[in-house]
Amino acid sequence: MLEKILLLLSLSLSVAEGLCKPGVGEAYKVRFSIKTALGDQAYPWNKNEMFLFRAALAFAMRDFTNGEEFGVSDIHPCNETQRVSFWFVVTRPKTMDLVDKGTVEMAIKKSRNRINGAFLLTDKTLEFDGIYPTLAAPVSPDTPPWLIVFGVVMGAVSVGIIALLVYPLVQRKLKKNMDADDEDSDEETGVKTAENGANDGIYNSTFSDDERFTQM
């Protein structure tokens, strides 16, 4: 395990070993989770991919600084591991001056999507330690969708209530019109709704059930 790491270290550019110190100064750590993102279609990590990374980062620096001609040789990685994670520093073109962390961060933030796209990864699978992704703005529709469903249901219920309330009135009206035409209207109107009949009549105790009420 330890041998593998040493081997990888020795492969990195010897010139930049002095500049790129993990965890110190202007260095950033980046972590790739290719297998998590792509599963079976994961590509192996090799020198060509590393070249692509340096090119993408150089592009990000050029884009942010608006023209300063950063090149692939200005991105110095070191401490590459099996995880596929490594540290890197950025130097100004043609000099060995380190670019400060803040600038690097803003450059990466600006071109994050392009860098992700180059590797077919996402914000979660291509992580820059310390640089938080700017999350997409939430999509808020003009009318919240729940209100629409609520409106539909409420409308249906209101229609139902009104229908139930109005229907017997309409029926009664129709019946009254029919009675006005018939001759036996007197007998018909005698049959009122049950409530009126029960309350207005005189209670005939002859047929009452004595045991219904408790003796006092």
């Binding site: 790491i5 972590r31 989770s33 290719i34 297998k35 998590t36 591991t81 099996q82 995880r83 596929v84 994670s85 938080y132 700017t134 999350l135 997409a136 703005a137 939430p138 969708p145 729940w146 209100l147 469903v149 609520f150 249901v153 409420m154 219920v157 209101s158 139902g160 209530i161 139930l164 309330l165 049950a194 409530e195 009949g197 029960a198 309350n199 209670y203 045991e211 219904r212 009420f213 408790t214 006092m216």
Partner: protein, 601 residues
Amino acid sequence: MEKDGRPNWDSPMQFVLACVSYAVGLGNVWRFPYLCQLHGGGGFLIPYLIMLLLEGLPLFYMELAIGQKMRLGSIGAWTSISPYLGGLGLASVVTSVYLCLYYNVINAWSFWYLFHSFQSVLPWAVCPINSNRTGPTEECEVATPTQYFFYRETLNISSSIEENGGIHTGQALCLVLAWAITYLFIVRGVKSTGKVVYFTATFPYLVLFIYLIRGVTLHGAINGLKYMFTPKMAELANPRAWINAATQIFFSLGLGFGSLIAFASYNQHNNNFQNQAIVVSLINSGTSIFASIVTFAIYGFKATLNYENCLDRMRLLLLNTFDLAEDAISMDSVLEWTEKLNTTYPEQFAQIADKVREGECNLEKELDTAVEGTGLAFIVYSEAIKNMPLPQLWSVLYFFMLLLLGMGSMLGNVTAIITPLRDFKIMSRMSNELFSGLVCVFCLLLGLGFTTTSGNYWFTIFNDYAATFSLLFIVLIEVIAVSYIYGIKRFEKDIEDMLGHRPNWYWKIMWAVTSPLLLIGLFIFYIINYIQGGTPTYQAWNKELGESAVTEYPVFGQVFIVLLLVSSVSCVPLTALYAFCRKRKDRAYEKRPSAVSTVSV
């Protein structure tokens, strides 16, 4: 139409379905599985079924008999049994009013969740982003997205019962809708209720069945089912298990509210309620067991998912700290790698030792988190749903089922208020529709108090105290009244009159001896528990920590609790006193020729 013009159910089937719809409610889904888990899984069925035989069935039968015989709501029925007992009916009505006030708020929440399920991403699946767009909102980060959605977006809860804010408009709208639908169902009395119950009683079973199939085919469901069905017989020795079984049967059947009396009062005189009582009670218990199978399958799924996510987090932590290749550690080998790395790189491991300890993954612990009540229905279940494939469909189905269960129970609750009040002459002058409308509007306006920011805490007060103690008291007096004041012999004769045969010795022993004793025992236990429990407490949501903390009720809260209890219980002695005074007054006028008609309500 019977000779006294009382409306009737169109068929005995409607009556049975109405009782099923009323009895099978939210408690079957969210209280019984919790009790099962608490008291040793499958073993809990033993005290549960024994209590069903000892108190559930006989008391259910008794209430149906009274309603069908007296053909009046609870107030009229008890006044007929003895003029001093009219207060029993009044206490039932008061308790039903309290229940109606807070129960429909649950339906309002179900509507809220149901309407929010019609989105491509369920709102409780992800945290909303904070204003800097750097990450999720703080409160959501410390809690979980489902908890955040429930406490912040649904309730907008304050940090204690003392702090109050405005009304949550979304909640208020949903509450209005819930009451509108309730009104729609009861506006024509039993004619409309009778048609609605065909749907509210049967559709939840369809959904439960669909969920059963979905649940047992989920990854990890078997863990939950194993956990539930391994009976821990030692729990049977715990008296709490028996007490919880007794109270669960009691509240699950909805005894004492007057709903059963009200429903039965619309029956034909010779309706065979004995078989119907047995059928409904068995359906109710069967549904509880059915629902807990579904719940435990879902628990198992959720616990396994959380466990696997935890393992994955551990795996990532190890990979990133030790810079190992991505496929070096698989999910199964996380634990052995932890050991290995601890021994080979102790100093490096010490740096992350805290994180490892904190995030320790334990399947048992995940399954052990027993939740009941609104927490189960709205937080745990919605968390499980968001992880299912096609979550919108399952969410809609689930909350629709909750709504049907809740609405079905509401039908019984509101009927329990309207039927006895309509039996009074003054009320019956008003039309059916107007009276029902007034009751609904009244309950709606008071219920709006539960949609304020501290509303959930008031809801908890009502949920825990409004109907528990008073019901025990009411049903205890009921069974004593029927067995000893009215007399078992007379009751037997009434039943023979209705059914054509007398109840056998099982029923008589239960009414006269077992049920009263059991109820007295429960009653005493409740009082002791209340006194011993000290100051009553509640769970207050702390938004900084993202969890609930146990807080004591302030003085006005405790006073309110006492008021709630006293207001319903005191109806019984006060009305008895009133009847006694009136009797004395009437006796003074006994010499007069005019007819005494004190009991015709």
